[in-house]
């Protein structure tokens, strides 16, 4: 049976590792490792399966050996080691991926805000000045947050920036733009939130937006949420790299 578990897991892992689905779960930089792991499991599954499950000899021996041997005698090539039952759980993630392909984390996780000053330990590396006169600068939410909390947002003064994230907490002309940041995998996702003020029609809850605007200060002292006054909103499709990192 082990061969089948390995094959099932290997197929699913390889498929995830070679597609955008990978980005829903881990950092893109882990891709080569995931691919190598998936392929290794596939090969191992085939090798073990060929010897244990599908080889004519294995089947013949399984038939001729009595029930006592089948119960796990060392000579039975298909014998089961003790405690193999837990191996059935390998099928849980396999079934989850095949049946409903868990999507990337989103609004639910973003609803558990944290003190954002803790996400960016200010002053980690020097912040480069943003280019001047080249139109609005495209920043990751993480980069924006770092700049906003460093030295009262000096590097953001006088610049237009473009941020990408999804909408929540719409309240009149303000809403919150969210992006989840991961350091390792989706299990450690932390929401980055920016309060956006925008005149004009409010966007839809949960919509992905590109927000162009300028930094205006810290909107929420306790959670260190930066504020942005927006001059332009554009609805965009959900990016394949859902997370910041």
């Amino acid at each position: 049976v082990q061969a089948y578990f390995l094959l099932a897991f290997g197929i699913v892992l390889t498929r995830v590792a070679f597609t955008d689905a990978l980005l829903n779960y881990v950092r893109p930089s882990t891709r080569p490792w995931m691919q190598a792991a998936g392929i290794t499991m596939l090969l191992l599954g085939v090798a073990v399966g060929a010897r244990r499950e599908w080889a004519p000899m294995a089947v013949a021996e399984g038939v001729t050996s009595g029930p006592a041997q089948d119960a796990g005698g060392p000579r039975d090539p298909r014998h089961h080691h003790p405690g193999t039952r837990v191996a059935w759980l390998v099928l849980a993630p396999v079934i989850a991926i095949v049946v409903f392909a868990p999507p990337a984390l989103g609004a639910y996780t973003a609803r558990r805000p944290v003190d954002q000053a803790s996400i960016v330990a200010a002053g980690t590396t020097a912040l480069h000045p943003l280019p001047t006169g080249a139109g609005p600068a495209r920043l990751s939410m993480y980069d924006f947050l770092r700049r906003a909390l460093d030295d009262s947002g000096q590097t953001l003064r006088g610049h237009d920036v473009v941020l990408t994230g999804f909408v929540s907490d719409i309240n009149g002309h303000t809403f919150v733009l969210n992006r989840l940041v991961i350091f390792c995998c989706a299990a450690d996702a932390i929401p980055i939130r920016v309060r956006v003020h925008a005149d004009g029609p409010a966007p839809a809850d949960g919509a992905w937006l590109e927000v162009t605007g300028t930094f205006t200060g810290i909107a929420q002292k306790y959670t260190h949420t930066p504020a942005l006054t927006s001059s332009h909103l554009a609805v965009v499709p959900r990016p394949s790299e859902t997370y910041d990192h």
Partner: protein
């Protein structure tokens, strides 16, 4: 892990040193204690040797297949437990005992086990727990990679429940004590 730690605590590079020393001490002390007083887990591993008639390469394959499948199954148990904790335990609980140094240490040691954050990311989680003393956060970073729910599940899978139920509490105690000591000395 140490690089991630230094990024998470840029203003306190001593945290990196403290983490290295506390973790290393934990590994050494647990290893020494187990070597001296513990029983070897070899009994559980013995059954691998009944493939003696197979060529080595085949035996390697069988062992690898068995260990991977077994480990994965246990990992599923551990991951499910950690995920449940993450969703069920409100973050506000985290701050409950932050005022008291000793309770903070116990609290974060417990959370390190329950939350099972991976060792690359836990420094960032720790740096965000600003209500707690630096020592308590060092405990969090030392205990987590040494013993947490998913590691416990994998130990049960590899060495059997009786072995794991002795090794895990020992690791927890030693890691907590070691981190508390280095936190007190260095931070």
């Amino acid at each position: 892990v140490l690089v991630a730690t230094s990024i998470a605590f840029p203003s306190r590079p001593i945290v990196v040193v403290a983490r290295l020393l506390a973790s290393l001490t934990t590994a050494l002390v647990v290893g020494w204690l187990w070597g001296r007083f513990g029983r070897s887990p070899a009994a559980k591993a013995d059954h691998h040797h009944d493939h003696d008639d197979e060529p080595r390469w085949f035996r390697f394959q069988s062992t690898a297949a068995h260990d991977i499948v077994q480990g994965l199954g246990m990992l599923v148990v551990g991951a499910a437990a950690a995920a449940t904790m993450k969703v069920v335990v409100p973050r506000s609980w985290l701050t409950t005992f932050s005022g008291n140094v000793w309770l903070g240490i116990v609290m974060l040691a417990g959370f390190a086990v329950l939350l099972a954050v991976c060792s690359v990311a836990d420094a960032f989680v720790a740096s965000s727990l600003i209500q707690f003393s630096l020592t308590a956060r060092l405990v969090f970073m030392t205990v987590g990679p040494a013993i947490d729910l998913k590691l416990l599940a994998m130990q049960v899978g590899t060495f059997g429940p009786r072995f794991a139920l002795r090794l895990a509490p020992l690791t927890l105690l030693v890691a907590t004590a070691s981190a508390a000591m280095f936190g007190w000395l260095l931070l």
